[in-house]
Amino acid sequence: MMLALLIVILMAGGLTALLAGKWNKSFPRWIALISSTAGFLILLLFWIDQHQVVQVSSDQNWLVQYQKDWILSFGITFHLAIDGLSLLLLVLTFFMGILAVLCSWEEIRERTGFYYFNLLWILAGVAGVFMAMDLFLFYFFWEVMLIPMYFLIGIWGSENRVYAAYKFFIFTQASGLLMFLAILGLYFIHGNNTGVYTFSYVELTGTVIPSQVAIWLMMGFMVAFAVKLPVVPFHTWLPDAHGEAPTAGSLILAGLLLKTGAYGMLRFVIPLFPEAARQVAVPAMVLGVAGIVYGALLAYSQTDLKRLVAFTSVSHMGFVLMGIFAFNELALQGVVMQIVTHAISTGALFILAGMIKERLHTRDMNLMGGLWTQMPRLGTIGMVFAMASLGLPGLGSFIAEFLILLGAFHAHFWITVVAASGLIFSAVYSLRIVQKIFLGPEKGAGHIPDFSRREMVIMAALTVSIVWLGLYPQPVINTAKPAVVRLVQLLQPDSDIKSEQSYVR
């Protein structure tokens, strides 16, 4: 019931905001803030309440679920369920949601009702994606998060917004359709095998598929998730969409939408097609490494701050892809950590970019410089998140990247060595950000105000989370553990976890 409630809160909040926006411009933001905070609190209470269960229950698949018939004739049910992994991502979703509302507080002044409607519906879509246990429902939520995002970029974006919005939409929509084809393929294969036509994830997991077909079906899923993640040849929508979107849009894109790609791989690609996934593991890891290096190279050369950060996302998501296909517990835990920490660190960088843009009215880094003098707080926070982006130990990103590399090292030596070079490149571009924006001689004339109280709250929340994740990541790791262990068992059915744990010769 709680799960359905979460989505209802967001969708209803969105509709109310839309209506309230008709007669008062500031009502919608309060409604958005209240509904996202309410969802966040519910989840947090649940997490704390279930603390023991979360960490122990490796025999029981789901922590909580909710099922209702929807379209029976096609075997579609409204089935929501979460395990530790989904729980983490849901908490992240609502956390990002609150921040997104807060950082659009002053930025959005036109059509606020429709804006917050879109924002909340994206969140609802993302939350639905993280909970849906029915492939049709999953696809439904997958689309629900696209269309409001399209509006968000297309209406409230900056100069080149229409181009960016179309590009985003076409990339994700086209790949989404491939996934839908794959879902239908799976549906019919399962129906033919068993006589039961159903979209239920649990039922479909065990489907016996001829390996040749399985590869193609998996590719359908993979392309959708790879475009979302994004994996290197499919990444070009990202810088445009990120660059042109309003701050909250970039935040949600980087923090949540990209994560749905990673989540999809973990939740669908591997469990549905374990054999096929194993066959493409090495090419996938190579693509991941290509993403790490290529993204970093591109990031270095950008002059537009938001595009730069977008390319760093490409680089960081390369780690995720590599980690997923390394297929061991260390790397998968690293992937979970990377999902969470990247949302926080890159989200923070986007918010910073938005704040700088609000003050200087530009995203061009050549026009910035020496901002530290006037805005020491912004400089300090910027430094913290630049360091998070280059993976400084003590901040969450380090744990993630270290675990991924450590796990990938077990899977493939040379790929990991090349991936490790990403650490050097990330240092190069992160320091360039700091140098170009905060250091150097002061360029902008006139007085620029430092952080306001609202901005301090946003940044403090992000900073505390990234440091917490860097020094005490165990709660996250423990929460994700049952899900990760199940994945590993799925991939190595013959070896139990105990032997996997000891690497000693």
Binding site: P233, L297, F409, P441
Partner: protein, 629 residues
């Protein structure tokens, strides 16, 4: 928490937090109190714990304290655990004690700077990170400190951020050390998969069973760890960042780039000595890197104008000695030289900082001169430091440590006459450039007006450091006079004893030669710069020597080389690919579609007759086909 060990790093951390969050609301006095006070307290606690450890320590000679579990995933377990043994005690002592002195000095030195609190915040963070590095019980936690000091080094080199050159130097330092760190990270992965743990004590215990002597794996691991050390300690081939790092304030150079951070490589190798002992190849690589660096850096130091750059190159050269010692297996000698070097090099940097500040930020030695009488305190303390650096026999502490290394370079298990000869040549050059520096700075006629004299907060640390530079050597005396081995006895709890090849009784020969080298160097410096400055001018006239001088001056061309083979291509590739070549694929699809659209939209003329004509022609064609069939 019955053991106050955690307080040692926690105090500087607290100082950092106070300054970082409340720095803008505090007065300068309070900032200095928080910044310097926290490190001083930490130094006191160190002395307290150290005394307890030495007098009534536990059986293993190790204090250990687990604070919390950091990461625990699938057999990979890293805890936040602090460990204090003899080796880390020496490092902790140097860090907190010299750190405290430098903080006190900085309170005076940075008085006029607007970013007073930022400076102390960074310095405190540095001390914290460095303490974590040396106190860490596992390699991952050590890596945290390792990267943390890199960050602080970056922040402090670029402290005066308005000047882009400083920012460039800072980025260079961070990036180059990051290359080494990445190699080291790969080394950590290998260690983990080989041994199943990253806890240093466990690795030390397991290593002899895990690996055979000279196994390839162990050599690779050792070399990867060495790469980390080489990056941090500015040894060949990752040494080019250190001279540029002198862009930071002088106390920073003294603390980070002379006394502590740059010796982290020495610490790492000493800590992991078990692995290095298992690989002869790796160990000789360490020795060769040390020898090459000490020579190259020494020659470069001979030609520099900037007093801080001379000191920077001499630091590289002295760390080269430490690496040489580590490489030949003289572990204790390396750590001993580290400690002595920390004292006199910090002293030299602080004194140089005092001079520079008094002379309106003049760095060029050729525009100094005649400071002997005008700044007596600085002169005498600098002289003591310089004597230690040049290793003047008997009276300076530098002699005792360096002499030990020279002797081991020949006599220890991994030593050879060639290494010894290089080290001896290095000693001669060291003495020569030290003399040159002294003469140019303090003798001759005054060339720049002195702005103001350093205050008490600056001179007292100088005097204290000078005192230690004199006496630190006496805790470890050679076999042939005194045979006082307090330091090595302490170290041998952790580090293995040095294995000797040759007879002990011939040691006096080496000492004599070392002393001769020192005096020879001093004479050379005096001959060319002191007695008749004309002589150096004559040398400069020579074409070939001038070319050689330029080559040395540029640091043997390493900067230019890296610029051509690494930096330029990287920048070039990123520049040409700024618009992302992959995107061309998609814009290509778009333009093909658009071209087709243009083509077809021609047919939409809007003329009804044209459309009907089309329909008729279509009908004709269809019927025609029908007829064909």
């Amino acid at each position: 928490m019955d053991n106050p060990l955690w307080l040692i790093p926690a105090l500087p951390l607290a100082g950092f937090l106070i300054l970082a969050f409340g720095g803008s609301h505090l007065s300068k006095k309070m900032i200095a109190a928080a910044g310097a006070g926290s490190v001083c307290l930490s130094a006191l606690i160190t002395i307290m714990i150290g005394t307890k450890l030495l007098s009534a320590g536990p059986d293993g000679g190790t204090y250990s304290q687990t604070l919390w579990t950091w990461i625990d995933v699938a057999g990979f377990n890293a805890k936040i655990t602090l460990t204090l043994d003899a080796l880390s005690l020496v490092f902790v002592f140097v860090i907190t004690f010299i750190g405290a002195l430098i903080h006190i000095y900085s309170a005076g030195f940075m008085e006029g700077d607007k970013d007073y609190s930022r400076f102390f915040a960074c310095m405190n963070l540095f001390v914290f990170s460095m303490l974590v590095l040396v106190l860490a019980d596992n390699l991952l936690l050590m890596y945290l400190g390792w990267e943390g000091v890199g960050l602080c080094s970056y922040l402090l080199i670029g402290f005066w951020y308005e000047n882009p050159a400083n920012g460039y130097a800072a980025r260079k330092a961070f990036t180059i050390t990051r290359i080494g760190d990445t190699a080291m990270a790969i080394g950590l992965f290998m260690v983990f998969y080989q041994s199943g743990t990253l806890v240093v004590a466990d690795i030390t215990a397991k290593a002899p069973e895990l690996w055979q002597q000279n196994e390839t794996v162990v050599t690779v691991i050792a070399l990867l760890l060495l790469a980390g050390g080489v990056g941090k300690s500015a040894q060949l081939p990752l040494q080019t960042w250190l001279p540029d790092a002198m862009a930071g304030p002088s106390p920073v150079s003294a603390l980070i780039h002379a006394a502590t951070m740059v010796t982290a490589g020495v610490y790492l190798i000493a800590r992991m000595h078990v692995i290095f002992e298992l690989s002869v190849v790796a160990q000789s690589v360490v020795a060769i890197i040390g020898a090459a660096t000490l020579l190259i850096a020494g020659f470069t130091a001979l030609t520099q104008y900037d007093i801080k750059r001379v000191l920077a190159y001499s630091t590289m050269s002295q760390i080269g000695y430490m690496f040489l010692a580590l490489g030949v297996g003289a572990w204790t000698a390396a750590v001993f030289h580290f400690m002595v070097h920390a004292f006199f090099k910090a002293l030299l940097f602080l004194a140089a900082g005092a001079i520079i500040e008094s002379l309106h930020h003049e760095h060029n030695m050729f525009r100094m001169g005649g400071l002997k009488d005008k700044m007596p305190v600085v002169f005498w303390t600098f002289l003591i430091g310089a004597a230690s650096l040049a290793a003047v026999p008997l009276i300076s502490s530098g002699f005792y440590s360096k002499d030990q290394i020279l002797w081991y370079a020949w006599g220890a298990g991994g030593g050879s006459p060639l290494l010894w000869a290089v080290a001896l040549l290095g000693a001669l050059i060291t003495a020569a450039y030290t003399t040159r520096m002294m003469i140019l700075t303090f003798w001759g006629e005054s060339k720049t007006h002195i702005g103001h004299h350093p205050g008490k907060r600056m001179t007292i640390p100088l005097i204290v450091l000078a005192f230690f530079s004199l006496v630190a050597g006496f805790i470890e005396l050679p076999h042939n006079f005194g045979h006082f081995t307090l330091f090595s006895d302490l170290m041998h709890k952790v580090l293995p004893e040095t294995i000797l090849r040759t007879n002990v009784s011939s040691e006096w020969m080496f000492q004599l030669l070392a002393a001769l080298a020192t005096f020879g160097g001093i004479f050379l410096g005096y001959f060319y710069y002191g007695q008749q400055p004309q002589r150096i001018e004559n040398l400069r006239q020579n074409e070939m020597l001038a070319g050689l001088r330029r080559f040395w001056f540029s640091g043997w061309g390493f900067d230019q080389l890296y610029d051509v083979i690494l930096v330029k291509p990287f920048v070039f590739i990123t520049r040409i690919n700024k618009a992302d070549v992959v995107d061309k694929l998609y814009t290509g699809i778009v333009s093909v579609t658009h071209a087709l659209y243009r083509l077809l939209s021609r047919t939409q003329s809007g003329s009804l007759r044209w459309y009907i004509m089309g329909m008729v022609i279509g009908a004709i064609v269809i019927l025609g086909i029908q007829m064909m069939l």
